[in-house]
């Protein structure tokens, strides 16, 4: 995956670049808005990660606006310092696809970028989802593992569907809250954990290998161990 990073803080930039490179991605980097916009419009990227505040005459939102005006639909994630929660709204209205406040965990950033890229590549309608021996029928709402039917409550079904659509990738607690219930708020971590442990009891107990795993400090991941 080829990612463009536009960020003026050297330390944050190095941290993000290292992270993406370790995951096997190619990262192009610009430390100001002008170079960032130039790279973004002249090269093809799978995703762009932008800081909101940038030197060089063009800020993050300026880049988003310029790209969208020229019909460039590359998924964009906007980074911003704390305390600008209201800016989130503006960033998304300008055509950004996601928004993450600093300080952030790299796992969260990586998970969100993965989700953005997958969403933009999403091809056609699906009627079934499969992860390992776990199968979900989206039409009949039936879930089975190794051929054995599993009864799920509606909210557990929504949760599992979200996890299966992001199978093999880390999803964070905030992503779950936003993706399933469409709310952006700070829920205490144990709220989401209790959802996960209920679901885990249903899909993992009595089966092998465990599919739903906790990624410490970041979130969860559905899929067999690599």
């Amino acid at each position: 995956m080829k990612i463009l990073l536009v960020e003026d803080n050297q330390r944050v930039a190095r941290f993000v670049q290292n992270g993406f490179r370790e995951e096997g991605h190619t990262v192009d980097y610009a430390d100001n808005g002008r170079d960032g916009l130039f790279l973004a419009s002249s090269e093809r990227y799978d995703a762009i990660v932008l800081d909101r505040m940038l030197p060089g005459g063009v800020d993050g939102l300026g880049i988003v606006e310029a790209l969208r005006k020229t019909g460039n639909k590359t998924p964009i994630l906007i980074l911003s310092a704390l305390g600008e929660v209201d800016e989130r709204v503006r960033g998304l209205r300008m055509g950004g696809d996601d928004y993450l406040a600093k300080p952030f965990a790299f796992g969260e950033l990586s998970a969100r970028v993965d989700a953005l890229v997958r969403r933009s590549q999403f091809a056609g309608p699906e009627t079934t989802l499969e992860v390992g021996d776990l199968r979900m029928d989206l039409l009949s709402h039936a879930v089975a593992r190794a051929g054995r039917q599993i009864q799920l409550q509606p909210r557990e079904f929504k949760l599992l569907e979200f996890l299966m659509r992001h199978a093999g990738k880390v999803v964070t607690r905030t992503m779950l809250l936003e993706g399933i219930w469409d709310y952006h708020f700070d829920a205490q971590t144990n709220v989401i954990d209790s959802h996960i442990s209920k679901l885990r009891r249903k899909i993992d107990t009595g089966f092998d290998p465990p599919l739903l795993r906790t990624v410490r400090g970041v979130g969860y991941k559905l899929g067999p161990d690599e």
Binding site: V85, R93, R165, E178, Y183, H184, D186, A187, R216, G217
Partner: protein, 477 residues
């Protein structure tokens, strides 16, 4: 002296004195002017009549007739208020009660005001100088010394009265200044003490309910409010410092441990993960504080939309259900449909979530937490969250919404200490309120929000449409 002039009371009194003097001057001056004018005209008429009569006699009976008339007038006048003098063209006296032609009378005929000395006393005299047939010159006059004296008397009287008024004004001003200054000085002293940092000072109230007392009471209640706010801010920043110190101290200890003991790779890894968790706690506190500040600033109001309160309550209750189930708690939700509110869905969800989180945290295992929406007065909607936990004592109710306040019941529990502060801020932002009632036993938290009226066709929130991370839409084939 300078400070006297700068004193408002003295300036006020001086102003009144000046006004008094000027208005008396105008009044007396006007009266004097009208009276003097009348007297002048009377005297002038008499003088003209006299002169006319003498002139007539001269014409009809010649010089002897005129002399006789003058002698007659002089003797009949009796007093010395009238003067007559007839001279020949060479100014030699022919008749009259003046010895010689007065130098003050010029060579042209007309009216003159002259001063004559009679019996060693100066007498102001008004006279008419006329030239009669044959070149004779006639001077007829009346003594107006009385009038001049009256005028002098009045002028002097006015001057003394003005001086007196001025003196009284200054005295009054000084007295007024003393009584006013005394009160103003008291306010000034209090304010200065507060500037120096002594917030316990209050302006003394005399109990007379005058303007100063009312001012003092207003200032005192303002001071009380300020003291309360300052205490609150001081308490909050102390609490922030304290609440941050704990995770930071743990973090420091952890890192120092790694640096000193140099454990093998795997253990370092584990320690670092714990360190990151410590930092996340600190960031969590900061995020909550910033969110609180953001809500308090009112900025979010621009993003208000018509939202379905019943739907939010339903979803939040769904989000918290598994957490409740872990403690064997049942969330009994009673939600009527179609309760609309103009507001921020995320914030309302956050507020209800915080209330539910508290209820679940403090409710005893295997109990019920009830959640319902009730309609109140004026279309207000009350979201009631009731538990059977230890509740909050009357004395604590006002304080639990203060940032970082930790009551008896929260000892040893997790949390940022900002949950209820956020709920209260959200309520305030929406024009609602957060109240607590006794559930006997337990607590009922009531979050009241103004309803959006009965209008139909709630707007959709554009943000909801572009919100990221939603599951990809499954388009129809």
């Amino acid at each position: 002296m300078n400070s006297l002039v700068r004193s408002t009371a003295v300036r006020l009194a001086l102003g009144y004195a000046a006004l008094f003097v000027v208005s008396s001057l105008v009044l007396v001056g006007f009266l004097w002017w009208r009276t003097a004018d009348y007297l002048d005209r009377e005297i002038d008429a008499v003088i003209v009549a006299d002169a006319q009569a003498i002139s007539d006699r001269l014409r009809d009976f010649g010089l002897p007739g005129a002399i006789e008339t003058i002698a007659d007038r002089v003797s009949h006048a009796g007093d010395e208020h009238s003067i007559y003098l007839l001279t020949d063209p060479a100014l030699h006296r022919v008749a009259g009660n003046l010895e010689a032609w007065p130098l003050q009378v010029g060579s042209t005929p007309g009216w003159y005001e002259i001063e004559l000395v009679r019996a060693g006393k100066v007498h102001a005299t008004r006279g008419l100088f006329a030239v009669l047939p044959g070149g004779f010159r006639l001077l007829v006059g009346r003594d107006i010394q009385d009038r001049v004296e009256v005028r002098t008397l009045i002028l002097h009287g006015l001057a003394w009265a003005s001086l007196g008024a001025l003196g009284l004004a200054i005295l009054g001003g000084l007295l007024l200044r003393r009584s006013v200054l005394h009160r103003v000085e008291a306010i000034n002293r209090t304010a200065s003490a507060i500037v120096r940092g002594d917030f316990s000072q209050r302006v003394p109230v005399q109990g007379s309910s005058d303007e100063f007392d009312r001012l003092a009471r207003t200032i005192n209640s303002m001071l009380e409010r300020i003291e309360h706010l300052v205490d609150r801010v001081r308490g909050a920043s102390n609490a922030v410092a304290h609440d941050l110190r704990t995770p930071l101290a743990e973090l420091r200890a952890r890192l120092e441990d790694i640096a000193r003991a140099r454990p093998p790779g795997e253990a370092v890894h584990e320690e670092i993960e714990k360190a990151v968790a410590d930092i996340d706690r600190v960031i969590g506190i900061f995020n909550a504080l910033l969110r609180l500040a953001e809500i308090d600033s009112g900025l979010r109001r621009s993003a208000f939309r018509r939202v379905d309160l019943a739907e939010i309550v339903g979803q939040v209750s769904e989000i918290y259900e598994p957490l409740a189930e872990e403690k064997g708690i049942v969330i009994a939700a009673e939600i009527p449909s179609g309760a609309a509110v103009d507001g921020d869905a995320d914030l309302i969800a956050q507020a209800i979530g915080n209330l539910l989180d508290n209820a679940i945290k403090y409710a005893p295992p295997n109990s019920r937490v009830s959640l319902q929406i009730a309609s109140g007065d004026e279309g207000r909607l009350a979201i009631e969250v009731a538990d059977h936990g230890p509740g909050i004592g009357d004395s604590e109710r006002a304080r639990v919404t203060e940032p970082f306040y930790r009551g008896d019941r929260s000892a040893g529990t997790e949390g940022t200490g900002l949950g209820l502060s956020v709920v209260e801020a959200v309520a305030r932002l929406h024009g609602g309120a957060l109240e607590f009632r006794d559930n006997k036993p337990g607590l009922i938290a009531v979050l009241t929000l103004p309803g959006a009226g009965a209008r139909d066709g709630a707007e959709t929130d554009p943000l909801r449409v572009i919100r990221p991370m939603a599951t990809p839409p499954v388009s129809a084939p």
